[in-house]
């Protein structure tokens, strides 16, 4: 069970103020403000279509924000930055539907994702060295794909692809990790494993997770923010949040809590 961190002792790693994202006339995110601190597992929850994925998209540069501010590590404005620049700043993203390089081997997937100088010239000259080799091996073990190391990633099952993508994002050694429904399609055992992995990881970075599995949120969250219709609804620990009437109405349902 997690310790709720109520007070902001450290600097925020990401601070969003009054972010709005609009598609045509529709505001998928509406004046949303948010902060996440370092070494924190922060869950973003809310009904389908609340704007959670869109918010992650906005942070990592996939969708452009219509207005508002996104300040990373108190110094860098993310607005208008290119995806790869944002990644190089230290933000890693896992997508909702697994996204991997289907024609490369599992190990090669990790090799490309690994933290390294990713500009053209260094990559042209790069050779896999011993250190890199062992960190790939380590990761393979961690994500349980050791036997599949030389297999084409396209032939993995849905769940294995999820793991591979998590592995790839971890290889980037981000300061802020964005995970969109990481445990979808995983067995309970693997959920558990993922959770512990997150706890391990938060020693090194901040983690923002979108998830609908409340057991998981309950077990591993430091803090929870609830979004609804593009707006901030409430935040706090999971215990706080599930007391909130509105959250019960629009999201959790009464039964879930009673059960």
């Amino acid at each position: 069970m997690s310790q709720a961190t109520v007070f902001h002792k450290q600097e925020a790693i990401l601070k969003a103020s009054q972010v709005t994202v609009q598609f045509g006339g529709f505001k998928a995110i509406d004046n949303f403000s948010f902060r996440i601190d370092d070494h924190e597992i922060h869950f973003l929850i809310g009904p389908n279509g609340a704007g959670k994925t869109t918010f992650l998209d906005a942070v990592c540069g996939k969708t452009s924000t219509t207005s508002g501010k996104l300040l990373f590590e108190n110094q860098t404005e993310l607005f208008k930055k290119k995806e790869f620049e944002i990644v190089r700043l230290g933000i890693g993203r896992k997508f909702q539907a697994p996204s991997i390089f289907t024609n490369l081997s599992v190990a090669d997937n990790l090799e490309l994702a690994m933290k390294q100088d990713k500009r053209l010239l260094p990559i042209l000259k790069a050779k896999r060295n011993g250190g890199e080799e062992s960190s790939i091996e380590e990761m393979l073990k961690l994500i349980n794909l050791k036997v599949a190391r030389n297999q084409e990633a396209g032939a993995l099952s849905h769940g294995q692809k999820q793991w591979l993508e998590i592995g790839m994002v971890m290889m980037q050694q981000p300061h802020l990790l964005l995970l969109d429904e990481p445990i979808a399609g995983m067995t309970e055992e693997e959920e558990e494993k993922t959770g512990h992995l997150l706890c391990e990881l938060k020693k090194k970075c901040a983690i923002l997770v979108v998830e609908h599995n409340m057991d998981f949120v309950r077990s591993f969250s430091d803090k929870v923010t609830v979004m609804h219709q593009g707006q901030w609804l409430c935040d706090g620990t999971m215990e706080d949040v599930q007391e909130n009437d509105q959250v019960l109405d629009v999201y959790l349902g009464r039964r879930e809590v009673n059960a």
Binding site: I100, K118, L120
Partner: protein, 360 residues
């Protein structure tokens, strides 16, 4: 045992070496005419290596490589024309009322400048176009069509500025090549081997490139460009680089082609030739490097052979070949090779160690 040998010799590297050896000895049994013809096909084979890097590995299909090939050829042809002309400007310019050699021509009067230009100018063009195009995320078929637009614009421009380009007649009639007559068999044999040497060098360099981490990045771009971007790669630069490189290779090929054929016209670099180049890659087998090389040589040889034997029927043959290859051998000729290789592998793993042992 037998199958192991098959496997070994059907690896990409070995296939190329076998092909190379054949190409080294072939001239001793071919007529002068066929040596020259084969030399031209080797120029095409060089071109498709670059095209395969771009299409087969990176997944970016250019149907505009005729232009880069053409720029290389035209630049070389400018030099060759000047080296062969007695007057200070080419004859066709005189009729077009040009009295002074255009700057474009002055630049490439020196052979070294022409050779460098034939490679660098296509790269510059590709670099600029690629930079903006890839940065603006023009991709897939949009990119492909853009390259076709480039072809049409360039070819129309070349034709309409016949005062400096020779128009639809193109550039031809050059006889002198570094003091030797271009028509003599010995010069042509020399050019054949020069082309072959270039083929080997380009192949080895590109082969190494595909085996490197950069090569994996190219495949990653093809598979899932966005994921690579979100892994911190500026994929636009990578694509620009490979596009530029393949344009340079095309320019080199064009240069070797024009010295051997002795003519370059807009017709050789237009829409249809540009599409045909992609066909050679596909027939050989995308993403295999050696496949396209074989494809370029075989398709052109078949085309020449068919059209000799059945001048009025050969389009049927050629068309049918394209359809059949795509339908029945979707991975091209290399797909057939791999098929045999797989069978070999199965036999091998059946009675010895399994393939997927891990290293640690």
């Amino acid at each position: 045992m037998n199958t192991q040998i098959i496997q070994y010799f059907t690896s990409r590297k070995w296939l190329f070496m076998i092909l190379f050896a054949i190409l080294v000895v072939l001239p001793s049994i071919l007529t002068d005419f066929h040596i020259n013809l084969l030399g031209q096909f080797i120029a095409f084979a060089i071109l498709v290596i670059g095209l395969d890097l771009l299409w087969g590995y990176t997944g970016v299909l250019s149907l505009g490589h005729g232009i880069f090939f053409g720029v290389g050829a035209y630049i070389m042809a400018m030099y060759l024309t000047m080296a062969s002309e007695d007057s200070i400007i080419p004859e066709f310019m005189i009729w077009n009322g040009i009295t002074e050699l255009p700057v474009l021509w002055v630049m490439f009067q020196h052979p070294a400048a022409a050779i460098a230009g034939a490679i660098v100018v296509p790269m510059l063009i590709a670099g600029v176009i690629g930079f903006f195009t890839f940065r603006n995320r023009i991709k897939d078929v949009y990119f492909t069509i853009l390259t076709q637009a480039l072809v049409i614009a360039t070819v129309t421009l070349i034709v309409s500025r016949q005062d400096i380009t020779g128009g639809s007649d193109g550039l031809t009639g050059f006889t002198n090549f570094f003091g030797h007559s271009l028509q003599t068999p010995s010069t042509q044999l020399f050019l054949y081997y020069v082309s072959l040497a270039n083929l080997a060098i380009v192949f080895i360099l590109c082969y190494k490139l595909t085996k490197s981490r950069f090569g994996k990045a190219l495949i990653a771009i093809r598979d899932q460009e966005n994921r690579l971007r979100f892994s911190g790669y500026n994929t636009a630069i990578y694509k620009t680089f490979i596009f530029t490189l393949s344009a340079g290779i095309a320019g080199l090929a064009g240069m070797l082609f024009v010295t051997q054929l002795g003519i370059i016209t807009p017709e050789e670099i237009g829409i249809v030739p540009s599409i045909e180049m992609a066909l050679w890659v596909a027939i050989g087998g995308r993403g295999t490097l050696v496949g396209p090389v074989i494809g370029a040589i075989l398709v052109n040889a078949a085309k020449a052979g068919f059209s000799e034997m059945y001048p009025e029927m050969w389009p049927y043959f050629l068309g049918a070949v394209f359809v059949i290859v795509v339908l029945f051998f979707p991975k091209g000729l290399m797909g057939i090779v791999d098929h045999f290789k797989k069978r070999g592998e199965k036999d091998v793993s059946g009675n010895s160690i399994p393939q997927t042992g891990s290293h640690s």
